[in-house]
């Protein structure tokens, strides 16, 4: 599973981080960092929750 974030849409509100902190981190500099671009299948449920929670639909799974 590959994570793609549209950084033009991302508002750094960290909802994704609350669902999957292993994959997404919004740092104090106000930017979102993707900690694992290709997380394992065991992360799928959490990443899908992040996709659904993201208020700007900035995250897609490829």
């Amino acid at each position: 599973m590959k994570i793609v974030v549209d950084f033009d849409k991302c508002q750094s509100n960290a909802l994704c981080m609350s669902a999957a902190p292993e994959v997404f981190e919004v740092r104090d500099d106000g930017y979102l960092y993707i900690l694992q671009e290709n997380p394992g299948e065991e992360m799928r449920a959490k990443v899908e929750e992040a996709v659904r929670l993201c208020p700007t639909q900035a995250i897609t799974i490829e």
Partner: protein, 426 residues
Amino acid sequence: MPDPSHHDRVTNTSGAVGSVGDGERKHVVIVGASLAGLRSAEALRAHGFVGRLTIVGDEGSAPYDRPPLSKQYLSGAWGEEKLWLRARGFDELNLDLQLNVRAESLDVASLALSTSTGDIAFDGLVIATGARPRRLPEPLDHGDHAVVRTKAHSDELRDKLRDGAKVVVIGAGFIGAEVAATARCRGCEVTILEAAPLPLERQLGPDMAGVCAGLHERNGVTLHTGVTIVATTAKSVTLADGRSFAADVVVVGVGVQPNIEWLQGSGLTLGNGIECDETCRAAPSIVAVGDVACWPNARYDERARVEHWTNAAEMAEHGAATLLADLNGTPEAALSYMPVPYFWSDQYATKIQFLGRVGGFDEVRVVAGAADSGKLLALYRRGDRVVGALGLSMPRHVMAYRRLLLENASWREALASVPVAKAPGA
């Protein structure tokens, strides 16, 4: 209108719509083609529903997202390509999306829906008709006052928010405050008139509402609270104390009301929206979700209608599961919907984020940052439990509380996970 590739399956229906589900296959109809309606469709498919799926929506445009309408889209920073819900299209959902079609009445007893283009029979129904802006009471209401709920509203208002334009915003709730902030960023001269002594007090409690109200003055917008409006024209507002404000445009943001009039006489219980049980069920095989639905949230012992984006998304998922339980003949399998509500609001450079509910809280404590620094994290206590977390421009820290709130954590636990200095709060 979007590029056709955004809505391959969209049928701009003019003829009558097909009737009952064929044989074994059940037919689910969703009324309202916005966030809650689309998320319902996605969740039904994700939960394995293979029957017929029809969405009926009265707007003409492909489904779009509303929060940017008072923020990035209104300011001009975002074009319409960033508004579409499901930019990837509808093919994989295999549904009949009927735009420009209005649901006109419902008969719960016979499971029949009447629309502007004909009758539709269904086995299951999702009602997601949302809300519309409340207007000023007569005789203060004026057709030329702007409101912001639809894409067309936002387009129309943007044209009027020219550099130097005088803007009067009636109502300092979230939408009014965001419109004021966006207008200010576009170089307008902005005045907000608010009837309550303190805006957002119900949503944030007095102390934090005060902090948020302060954002306006700090950004060069005048906020008058506790005012009584006695007269308006298209371009002016007069108060009971005699003050009068001239404007190039008057914007009204005095809240929304649920779209339930079409359900009068349907057999559903209508009150503050559609009154549902704790599982989002409005009647057997009928669920209501999003801004239109009122339900008892057992987590907070309160029956409420929540008018926020995340609730529309989460409630749609939950409602879909309840509906499938009913359609499968196992209504007792439906679970209670007990979310930790979340909302955000972007005003000027400040990102306001709130998790939980403030209702009946005993204490609010600022645990990081400070009001005058523009960054702050505050926790709300009820009894010995943490019930809310507010962040001003501290996204990673406030979101770290989501799990604790979902676990109904104690106040002591919440205080123990306060971020210290630069350490992560997660």
